[in-house]
Symmetry: C2
Subunit: 220 residues, 2 copies
């Protein structure tokens, strides 16, 4: 359709935005998100400050664009894998490969929050897309319900779920998938296992295995 | 002993160091670790830059002092609880209370690493003190060995352990305690559960409960 063809001006704008974001990632890797400076990026790209502000009105706007890209990329990765038949274990390995391919990107969305920055509501919708895939994968497995105090609480606190028809047991498992894998991944990306000399791929695989055994209601 | 009595000069030095560190924590809360500025701290305390550098020779020296204080505080909290009879579950709740009492302190040691900063070796020794308490607590429980590929790997990769006589199953459980509780805590501190409206205390308690059941070799 004609309406989808970008004008030269639009293409130029998209190209400059991409250059700004690319340099922002380099700055994040070098100095951290909280030291991100639009002035420094403008200088590096040979732009004036006011020219750069036409692309991103503030540091927070730029951070939001990077966070959106990060969530979009992870949501696409898990969705594509799921649509190709990936089960829970395969999805867990997609998440780790995605995290290791760009630790700064993973840590921007799941690491230490940026002081003073508040993510807009639409980034929550993106994280919900990831949750929706996990819930879908757990729905395919036969998850027995487990009566725990948190399960009872979750039963009456489920407005956050992207899939209102999912059972509480499925929601519980999707949350567990997230917290347990994040536990290993974030410590791995932060280098905590480096000095210990252990193979984190095996630790992760073991944690995924234990997650599956537990979700199916048996320990071994 | 006389040698333990600080001279007025030493007491003054300790007091100024404490003031600098206190202001550094405020700066970390306001702008993040990677934006920590010795110049800004000196200005706030009415000191010249060179005067402050007599207390901390560099930004990294100051970060190291804060990291040491954080690990020292957590190691003392778990050690005191353990010496007073705390078991695994009680220790898990000590860790959460410690994390919630000062999220920036938790995230400085377990959150996103500071770009360009390399922690010195003695901070590893402090983190080992925490691991030693966990290993002690698991040694008291009767942990059956579990044969998994990671368990076999850990059996031949245990030079990191502060307790060479602990069984591989105990080491495995101590690692699991760390990764699983960090998974929930770090997402909680980063605000990921806020919009979901779930009670993280119950989620955490459920995760601790599941950790105990699994370590004892049974699912429920």
């Amino acid at each position: 359709m004609d309406s989808e063809v970008a004008s030269p001006r639009e293409r130029y704008r998209a190209q400059v935005q991409a250059e700004i974001k690319q340099h922002a990632w380099q700055q994040i890797a070098a100095t951290g998100v909280s030291a991100l400076s639009l002035k420094a990026i403008a200088k590096h790209l040979g732009m004036s400050g006011p020219a750069l502000y036409r692309y991103f009105a503030s540091r927070d706007d730029l951070i939001t664009a990077l966070i959106r890209d990060a969530y979009r990329s992870l949501a696409d990765a898990v969705r594509e894998a799921y649509d190709s038949g990936a089960d829970i274990a395969a999805l867990a390995h997609v998440v780790r490969a995605w995290a290791l391919s760009d630790p700064h990107r993973y840590l921007l969305i799941y690491g230490t929050p940026v002081p003073g920055y508040q993510a807009p509501a639409d980034t929550v919708a993106l994280s919900q897309e990831i949750m929706a895939v996990l819930i879908g994968a757990y729905r395919k497995a036969d998850i027995p319900s487990q009566e725990t105090p948190f399960g009872a609480h979750l039963d009456s606190h489920r407005h956050w779920t992207p899939d209102p028809t999912a059972s509480t047991a499925v929601l519980r498992q999707a949350l567990t998938f997230w917290t347990r894998l994040h536990g290993v991944l974030s410590l791995e990306l932060a280098g905590h296992f480096t000095g210990m000399g252990i193979d984190v791929a095996l630790l992760y695989a073991d944690e995924v295995d234990s997650l599956l055994r537990q979700s199916l209601g048996r320990f071994r």
